[in-house]
Subunit: 335 residues, 4 copies
């Protein structure tokens, strides 16, 4: 960490500050320039409150040099992480998978039917929501435990590992048979939930929050990893901007940026990212071209009667077409 | 709800759509214009998925007429709600209170000392965080149960009702002696937490999320109220924008807008809203001038040694000055 | 246009409003529902101030049905526009071109040298800035007329049509030999400039403003087209969001959205859109996969010594690689 | 300027970089820490492209210490600037004025009538738009020269100095009789216009752009001041965020922040900042409480028939009330 002092700071003021740093166990290097004095700090600077330091009247500005994420950082772990997501499937480090299914689990018939269609098209993981975060308390909230039971039976019948969202740590015991536990965008900074998931060894798929930076997404991954669970997958699903035509703004630059900063796999969700079925195909292809390690796609046998998010769901036929095109773009990118 | 059909829709298509609406128990009124057909829907339209409807190929656009929040809506409850916050104090409907204290509870000595200074200046509610949501898992996370115990003892000694944040519904039993339970910005859409708080009768102070609209804030209030707990206070604390000079952008128009839309009291937090101690006073005065029913202010006896958010904390002396000026502006606004 | 009145509006109030609409030459259709009265307006509603109408005390809400852009609207012009950009080249309707070159024109040697490298790689249009919009008055502002002269000579030597930015309508006479005139993001709503360009017949490339919606971009195209110049190309170059890791957030969903709304060609600029050379390749491929009709790429023979925007420029070797990969992805998308 | 090198940089790489800095005439100070090498640069670092430097493979990060604005900077000019705005009136340094009038100039009768009402209430400067920036080419664009003539005659009759917007530098000769020239939000980075205004000595009122940071606003002021015109007034008028209930988000923290960074006066425009007449009063009071040096308020004798922005205009009676309340809050803030 570097602290730059304002011009005109007295020796006494500077020494008081340096003593304060030393009291935190830091090594202090002072370099006096023509106008500014620069203080370099070495040691565990994670105890230093950067905004407090910046607010001191004698400090011009402060810069943290080392990233506050350690486990997720590519600097300390150059090789891509490969996450085992069940059923012998892997994501990351060249392994690409598509997770698909309806927004909400509605019935066993629905899940098995759509799961088979998805599998036939090449979608090897099945998703469906049993616990649904809804803006309104009056909207459908999911089938909860019953929904998880349906997912389990669908998995038994189609062989697809299942991916579903957790909203409450108390529900964790119900997730025994779930292969990948999803943390939704609204819970990306539900730190108690993340800590608890760090105590499991299940793969955790963390969706970027609507107003969260990529570095904050990495810090949320760090919460899980700090607990000992290294099986984290990151997911870009759109951020909130001033544009209202799309539901969110899918920030595809997140994919190459995260690949630079971390070794964790990165997937994209063009269904939530755009909110419109007609935009899912072009944005899915774009995500693949940008280097995504996987996709998450909403598919519903009958979008017009879906209990939630029907507007952004593909039909199984549209999904067939998407998968064929995804393969071609992926080949072109890899060749 | 109004659905406007595209030009060229056939009678059969229109009738199919109307039948679908009727199957949801809605009354359907068709009005055929020169170019567009307009369908008016009367009844419980909360079951209609507006984005699904918008995505149908024959639909031009859809407009919800009635707001999806009922309990919080001023239309159905014209009078300001007045919330009893303990110790004989009330917020809303002309009752104005200032909640102040350090970001984190650090020790009993700290809380009692700062509480007395705050009370002397006119700050009649005491705040302090025992559970701290921190971006990094390596930052100080709060004293948890021990912190709540300290708050209780401070309350016993100064007589101030206490306000503190909950992050996890499992901690609720520990909040017995807390007067106002705060839901932080990151948990504004932690719907399970909101539902659980709806089962209590404690006042709940909900902070606006960093990327949440005012209507979403009202829907979160609605989660608590739908459970039967009408004691909700709303708090503007800054939203995330492209501006980086301030920590957040304090959206003071939230105060008069919320006063138009809801009968619930609205307070402002200029400490988190700006992130800089030097901006707290002018923005506190501005919030009062805009009609706030209260303020939440960070005060720390020794901001330079605060364990979190020291940069935005006022000293007790600065708080004395702020309270004196707040009184004057409040008188000017009311006169 | 549809105006929905509030419950409880009297007959007299409704009739006054209807008379006001009729005084604007509009046909008025009243449809009285159980709670709300809906007024449909037919005719030239472009004279109606929608926000004024919304603010009337008896009006619940207003909805414009027809888009306010006519010339750019795909509804009235289903076929893709194909723009002749000089040198026998075309953009749009299946014609794809890459525009490349340095951010600023520095010397003839630079432009001819880099132009030849670009052409050899398949970049058939050459760009370079002679007038540079810079945030600081102390930064390099471009070579102005001298820069345009250099561009002309480079065009004569390499045969590439040239694309360059105009900042001031008084400079228009200097743009005689320019093939495509670029309107930068900061001037997207410089309406006087757009009107003046509407009087020429030169292709105009309009970049989306940092805080402008896609509908506003279309309205700016409409300014040029309303003047009689139908040769407009739209360019997504990133919007401003809270994310600070990238210079802007490249909103690739703009490509399929604009293809839905308008017949005009849409290209993407991943260099300005990301601000980092390492992100240009993945985002260029993503733009192609999303259906872009062209790309705009910064290439500089020696990025480390570029007078502006060196950080986001590719070397000619990197551009060779990009073009080879772009071809593959484009084939994959078209196949 | 401080450049921090990555760990593992060789001596040769470091020396090459230092030589490059020296070739730009900079003094170079190297300070080698345990892990990182820090290079301090002294001299005119405005030539250094900060993003290029950041993109070099051996550079960890770069920090500019001195602000790139010199003339507007409070560090070099501690005393508040006081701007003479005509008619013996001044803004800044304790001088507070309210600028009011209709969005568009419509007729002499309108301007003189509303001007007299405004003056009687204490609004000593008169505004009205003759050149109107409108998103749609089909909307009313202003009366242009005729509008300026009307403003002149109104000024002659009421004695109020006049404030009006310029959109095109070619219109400058028509602004002879205008007292304060306004640069609208969409032209905040129309650098050619700013430069030209720097050659005049008229007061220039610069409105913050919808997506511009406060530092960018100061750089735009710097464009005018670098030309020798020190008469600049800054105006906060709302930024674009995800919130759609208000037209913009009025960022009142801009007022105290700008007062910290610059000696120039700062006013607020709650009419454009909110877009709703009902919000103008509370936000005007809030701006005054936050320390604004003035206000800009839309007043129209008959808002329901205004040619533009009627929705946010106050009636003269509402303005009377606002001025009375503004006085009280201002007294409370100053006392």
């Amino acid at each position: 960490m570097i602290a730059i002092l304002k011009p005109g700071v007295t020796d006494k003021q500077r020494e008081n500050l340096c003593d304060w740093f030393r009291s935190m166990g830091l090594e202090v290097h002072v370099s006096q320039g023509q106008f500014h004095c620069i203080i370099g700090l070495i040691g565990d600077t994670s105890k230093v409150d950067i905004s407090l330091l910046e607010s001191l009247s004698i400090v011009e500005s402060v810069k943290r040099i080392s990233e506050p994420f350690k486990n997720a950082n590519r600097k300390f772990h150059a090789q891509d992480s490969v996450i085992d997501v069940g059923g012998g499937l892997r994501i990351g480090g060249g392994h690409f998978e598509v997770i698909a299914g309806p927004c909400s689990v509605e019935s066993e018939e629905q899940m098995v039917g759509v799961g088979r269609r998805i599998l036939a098209a090449g979608g090897r993981l099945l998703r469906g929501g049993a616990f649904k975060p809804r803006t309104s308390p009056y909207d459908f909230q999911g089938l909860h435990g019953e929904g998880l039971g349906i997912l389990s039976r669908a998995k038994a019948m189609t062989g697809q590992p299942i991916v579903t969202e957790i909203m409450n740590i108390n529900d964790l015991p119900l997730f025994e048979d779930v292969d990948v536990i999803q943390v939704g965008a609204r819970n990306m900074q539900n730190f108690d939930l993340l800590k608890e998931l760090g105590r499991t060894r299940k793969p955790v798929l963390i969706k970027r929050g609507l107003a969260n930076t990529l570095k904050e997404l990495l810090m949320s991954a760090e919460y899980v990893m700090a607990g000992g669970n290294e099986n984290v997958i990151l997911c870009e699903r759109g951020i909130r901007t001033f544009e209202t035509y799309t539901r969110n703004t899918l920030d595809l630059s997140a994919i190459p940026v995260l690949h630079e900063l971390t070794h964790l796999p990165v997937i994209a969700d063009p269904s939530h990212g755009t909110g419109k079925a007609s935009l899912v195909l072009p944005m899915a292809l774009a995500a693949v071209a940008a280097g995504a390690d996987g996709l998450m796609i909403e598919v519903h046998p009958d979008p017009e009667h879906a209990l939630s998010d029907g507007a952004q769901s593909l039909t199984p036929d549209q999904f067939d077409d998407l998968m064929a095109r995804v393969s071609k773009v992926r080949e072109a990118v890899l060749s």
